[in-house]
Symmetry: C2
Subunit: 480 residues, 2 copies
């Protein structure tokens, strides 16, 4: 019993110290390990399997919209990175530089890609000649490097995994349409698959991507009331095309610049899942992305027939398309329960001699701990139904929590009160002046998370910062 | 007609200049493009989709044997790379060094991983404490960098995609068993999926991996008679474990070193597919890995109902699980045929007004160009059957070609004749002395490809190089 307590006690309570709770969960749930390279993490089997599930589903959704995958080199020559002025200013301070190949110094330094706009532009310049070559809808799955000073597993690490889509279009309208389309792909994915509600909107000029004309974002609220930017989609207009000379001959025989977009999602999503759904017993995974959806745990497994019956349950569910495992190790059932809870496995099935006698087993939900007794003949359908309910309930619970942490501020005084005393999104009007954003960031460490698409109401007529007339509604918040 | 001829004429004949033919095919079949980073390639949609198909099937086979995926950092601190002597000597001359993060010099240089043995060892040292923690069967899919001087698309590039499996075991026997098991997974995959026959065997001491006790290999024969090492599996014994201090407490309470393996396959496999199956019209893809298995090409598509019928055929096959596309562009049918052949799409379906009248369509095999008239009601079953036949025939043809290019040499004279006048594998006995390997390499640029598992016959009693007594049968060859 001492050992079992230890596993549970090892996690800090989330209300006591949310940051420490997070660090405890990523380690104890065996999602990551630290490596000997500062700021780079090892993604362990359970962490990587979550990423594989995210990848498979996102990739399917991309391909449905006509996107094709490619692979670009991981290195960018310095001269290529320097071609677009805003872009290089945004990224150069945090890139890793390769200076030697073997024992020879390179003629030109190469940076390890922090993002691949410049490589795609260089590629598109040669590839695109005619309107017949458009649009190009390419994506790649890879890792990128940003030499951050402070790092946290999944949320901010020097190397992380992501996908980056890069498209080229004949017209500005098409590019804008694709930028918004991909944002909705991201938002739907977050809500339907990760069970995380998001606010869809546009970034301010200050917060947009280096080199973009417009950046769209989805913003999620973590359990501690801080925001997490969970996916962004950028419209570059013809800025990169002009810097790189990407032109095509249109139907009217005129030479025109293409219009481009890019959009990305990262392993940071795993951090979002942890911080939205997790609790003091550890991880809570939405069934859609859980590497293991059901863990079968035999009770009194030394008794005749128990292990066989547990194995049979595992086999039946597995054959039914449920990702199921059996824990038949020598550990005690209590220890196994704690492990299953820590790892966030959505359902555990308890089966012992008494259940066998009654022709039943016990399904326990990870999220609510609710127990359901299920007749063995109904096992498959009931397990699948329960997984569906858990998925839906996780979303509903996260949405209720998020909605309960959105505050309206109509003036500077109300804004100050919200931002200092509450944790969550603050809805407040903004005049459009960057000086106000700067002031709010400096005073409160809060930023304009986004100007929402679907919420254009003017909750007040003046800017929450300067009191001048304002027509833009902004979601403000402190962010990861 | 001029345009159509151009596409075909653009390829060098393989008998005229095999190297140029290869370069033409990778470009014209749109598998790769060159990038502005010397020696690094861009993998285009068709090339990447082949890799995705290879990945999916290999990954499935790995997981069936209990392997789990993880992700390790792409950087290795110099001190970590230096821990195993043979290993660092093998790789240090060809690694890319990162020396700066942003504008600051790093305290310690980091190399971009050329392979990840050292990272896995560092990880395992902390992870493995007890016999209960064993075995560890981890794999990762990633890109690696080796600063090669001469590069060729897929075959040898400075960055390439691969998987690297790294396992740790309690005993030497288990490690040896896993090493050989994975080699057979590779070999079966090559034969069943890529339709490439391979020789399975062991590398000589000279040819083994830097730091390994034993390296096993599968060797394939390209159309030009040169060998391609297509996958390797290494048994490290406890060498790395001793260098890194990876110990576990066994059941008997004794502290013991683990025994390790690693095994890898790369995008080089795509090069093998090209060079084994391709012909003077371009790529020929085995149906199992073809991104598009069937291309539907309407004939006289301006005639009423033709495009609709072609679309219907595409829909029906797609719904039946056949990867099918429709080419409804404005190009001429002849031009489309050439493109489909260049891209190696296993079957094209021709459908025109006369076929519609007769309730049929024409299936044309890419490999033999054989035409089959198929009644539309039998479309799905006949197409699937034909894909299966193509897959089998490609293997049979490659095997016949390979077997016809294996030569037995019983003496130095016969060896000299074979290696200078024939193209293929040369079977010849070897005394076991590395001096003989060195001599053969220097004189003929040929190497010991492997000592085969399944062919232990002694075809002669003396070494093909020195004439001394010899008991080891070796497949010799010139290799990519």
């Amino acid at each position: 019993m001492a050992k079992e307590k230890k596993l549970v006690e090892a996690i800090t309570s989330m209300n006591e110290d949310f940051a420490q709770w997070y660090t405890d969960v990523v380690k104890k749930a065996e999602l990551i390990d630290y490596s000997s390279v500062k700021g780079c993490m090892i993604i362990k089997p359970d962490g990587y399997a979550i990423w594989e599930n995210i990848q498979a589903e996102l990739d399917r959704r991309f391909k449905e919209t006509g996107v094709e995958n490619v692979y670009m080199p991981m290195f960018i020559p310095e001269s290529l990175l320097n071609k677009e002025k805003d872009h290089v200013e945004g990224f150069a301070p945090e890139v890793a530089w390769v200076t030697h190949g073997g024992s020879n110094p390179l003629q030109e330094r190469l940076c390890v890609r922090p993002t691949s706009e410049t490589l795609f532009c260089d590629f598109y310049r040669n590839l695109i000649q005619s309107y017949r070559d458009l649009p190009k809808l390419y994506n790649q799955w890879c890792s990128v490097v940003r030499w951050e000073k402070e790092t946290r597993p999944f949320l901010r690490s020097r190397e992380f995994l992501w996908q980056e889509g890069h498209t080229a279009h004949a017209t500005a309208e098409e590019a804008e349409e694709r930028t918004v389309q991909m944002l909705h792909v991201y938002a739907d994915f977050c809500e339907e698959v990760l069970a995380i509600p998001v606010v869809r909107g546009k970034k301010t000029e200050k917060e947009k991507f280096a080199g973009a004309e417009a950046t769209y974002t989805i913003e999620a609220l973590m359990h501690d009331g801080k925001a997490l930017q969970s996916g962004t989609s950028h419209n570059f207009g013809d800025g990169f095309a002009k810097a790189f000379g990407i032109q095509y001959t249109d139907r009217d025989n005129q030479l025109k610049y293409v219009h481009q977009t890019s959009w990305g999602m990262t392993t940071r999503l795993i951090g979002a899942v942890i911080m939205v759904h997790g609790d003091d017993s550890g991880l809570v995974l939405p069934p859609e992305i859980a590497p293991t959806q059901v863990m079968v745990i035999p009770v009194q497994q030394h008794k005749e027939g128990v292990l066989e019956k547990a194995a049979e349950i595992r086999e039946r569910l597995f054959a039914f398309g449920v990702r199921t495992k059996l824990d038949d190790t020598e550990k005690s059932p209590g220890w196994k329960f704690s492990e299953q809870e820590m790892r966030g496995i959505p359902i555990r099935i308890e089966i012992g001699p008494k259940d066998m006698e009654a022709g039943q087993c016990v399904l326990v939900r990870r999220d609510t701990r609710e127990k359901t007794i299920v007749a063995l003949e109904e096992l498959e359908s009931r397990a699948k139904e329960l997984l569906k309910n858990i998925q839906n309930d996780l979303f509903a619970r996260a949405k209720a929590h998020r909605d309960a942490h959105i505050y309206d501020a109509h003036s500077y005084e109300e804004f100050t009160e919200c931002v200092t005393e509450k944790q969550g999104f603050i809805r407040g009007m903004w005049c459009g002046d960057q000086a106000c954003e700067d002031k709010i960031k400096e005073e409160f460490a809060a930023t304009a998370r986004c100007m929402p698409f679907d919420d254009k109401e003017e909750i007040a007529s003046v800017c929450v910062c300067c009191g001048r007339p304002a027509h833009k509604l902004v979601y403000w918040g402190k962010a990861y």
